[in-house]
Symmetry: C2
Subunit: 353 residues, 2 copies
């Protein structure tokens, strides 16, 4: 005997299949007493709806959308790859994932973009965007229309009923701090922190965590105010040149941006060739290469595949009103050194023949 079915449930609850159906799908026309009788029976025989069969019968596909920033850095690229991959492996489960790009730095237009989604028969949205009042309101509107929402990578702490899939940035900053404190040994000097803009919540949280640990464990080091480059390569070069040529020797650099290309070039151009501990975020082809050649000492990572899959699971759970396994949805703050970089291991299973 397998799991109990709706038939078993009907028998135990002493009602017909039709009533079971009405209760399970929250259709009208059932007395409260009967609803409760059915619910008791559900618990009694530990009934769980067979979602494969349910979806089959509904012949419904879940439409999920990832709303990503419209600029392209390597991190976003990895996310898009992971989404494509997920879309393929989830085709079996009647889940369709698409990507929509939105202007991350224009809250009004972004909010409009979000509003558009609700018209398109979308069932769930994962939003990666800086927190703004406009976005928060747009999320509420989605919520009002019964569309599931997840904050993806960037938290939306003020949007209610929106789960967050991503890392605790303050903890990430602390982790970088700890590594910086330990990797610099007993050296004295200056630590640079670079970011695109200190306006962004992520930057602020990471910086806060970083400072906490530096203050606690590395008072020998002087942590400079964040260097903002506003995404401008010329400015990046300038600020690094200035900082690296100041009196105090630079012993550590924390790169908060996803895109580290310009910064690394500036460091190589103006800094000493050896001995600066450089720590960055996100494992991309570029950061990988730089871990290998030693120009980066550590990279703080959130597993992109995990981020995407977790978001999808959470969205699906919200849509079908089921529960998720909390421990599985926790995104780890990973530390990657040259030694524990993922290798390309050979594919494990065979293809369909």
């Amino acid at each position: 005997m397998g799991r109990p079915t709706t038939k078993d449930l009907a028998k135990v609850a002493g009602v017909s299949l039709a009533t079971i159906d009405r209760v399970l799908n929250a259709r009208p026309g059932v007395r409260q007493v009967t609803v409760e009788r059915v619910n008791r029976a559900i618990k009694e025989i530990n009934f769980v709806r067979d979602f494969s069969a349910a979806n089959l019968a509904r012949s419904k596909e879940y439409e999920l959308v990832f709303l990503l920033p419209d600029h392209d850095d390597e991190f976003i690229g990895l996310i898009r790859e992971a989404i494509t991959e997920a879309n393929q492996s989830l085709a079996h489960e009647r889940i369709n994932v698409t990507v929509v790009r939105g202007p991350a730095n224009d809250p009004h237009r972004l909010a409009e973009e979000i509003d558009t989604l609700s018209a398109l028969g979308v069932d769930g949205v994962a939003i990666m965007a800086p927190e703004t009042p406009q976005v928060r309101d747009a999320i509420s509107r989605l919520d009002a229309r019964g569309i599931a929402v997840v904050a993806f990578v960037a938290n939306q702490p003020n949007a209610e009923s929106t789960s967050f899939v991503g890392i605790n940035n303050q903890a990430a900053g602390r982790t970088v701090g700890q590594l910086m404190a330990r990797f610099t040994g007993e050296k004295r000097g200056m630590v640079l922190v670079q970011t695109e803009t200190i306006q962004s919540r992520d930057s602020q949280e990471r910086r806060l965590g970083f400072d906490t640990i530096m203050a606690k464990y590395a008072q020998r080091l002087k942590v400079c105010p964040s260097l903002e480059d506003y995404g401008d390569p010329v400015r990046t070069a300038q600020i690094f040149k200035a900082a690296l040529q100041s009196d105090l020797p630079v012993v550590g650099i924390y790169l908060m941006n996803h895109d580290i290309h310009e910064a690394m070039q500036a460091i190589e151009a103006f800094g000493p060739s050896q001995g600066i501990v450089v720590i960055a975020h996100e494992l991309t082809p570029q950061t990988c290469a730089r871990l290998v050649d030693g120009s980066l000492d550590a990279v703080i990572t959130q597993d992109v595949g995990h981020l995407v899959h977790s978001s999808i699971r959470v969205l699906k759970a919200k849509i079908t009103n089921t529960s998720t396994v909390a421990s599985q949805e926790r995104i780890r703050i990973e530390i990657t050194l040259r030694e524990n970089m993922p290798e390309e291991k050979p594919t494990v299973a065979e293809n369909i023949e």
Copy 2:
């Protein structure tokens, strides 16, 4: 229009549903030319079988077994929890996971245990056991009966057609080496390496990786021969006492065992209270606590939930003869410091009501 169905496939291939069925399920009675015609049509319309529907029709449950060592340490406990959890979340997918315990250190009896499994209608087995000829042969026998096998945590490199779900232990050892080299700063002295037995393949690989890095980056440190404690608490205390009271100061300790309780007690009893860098494996309640209180400096981790889920996905893929997404099945070597320890974040989704 959703995905193509068997009907569409039949139309395109110019054959009947019955023939499609025979081809898809490798039933006899179809000419080779016809099989190829169907296969061409599959590619042409990009047909993918709907496994939910297929499983529904089969009304078959997949029986998976995790064969775990019969001793109980915290790591095994975590694995068992993860399996229980997975079993619940996979009930929807008609996957049943059970745990069987086997005598890890008695290859003959373990092999018998494995043989028993094939009688029980088991479809797939994840085996966590040291590599021995007996086990390898038992795995071949499973294989011969068409039962999918995965080597879990401990690799079985000589068992053919057996995938491995776990980490590269040599890389893990290298990672520990790098951390040890950097965390000890400029200090000089001795590094201890403790293991249950240097016989085990895992220990050997980890040690090898560790030594490679120490030789390369920390020649100032003297790495001692591995201290074997054979799982005996008394012996653990003895060897640590002797090592810690020798002439050269101990600056670092690498604990390879899952169970670190005895070792840590000995270190606290006989070593200096401060300044020794201690690195261990696996994130358990105990190692967590010791990261927090500072008596451990770093823990090398493989995500247990990921291990379990990945094994299940790989087994399922083998059984249904489908493919897995390689990047998703790669188990990361994670570094955990106090700062990036997983927090208990509140459950994200609601329960069924």
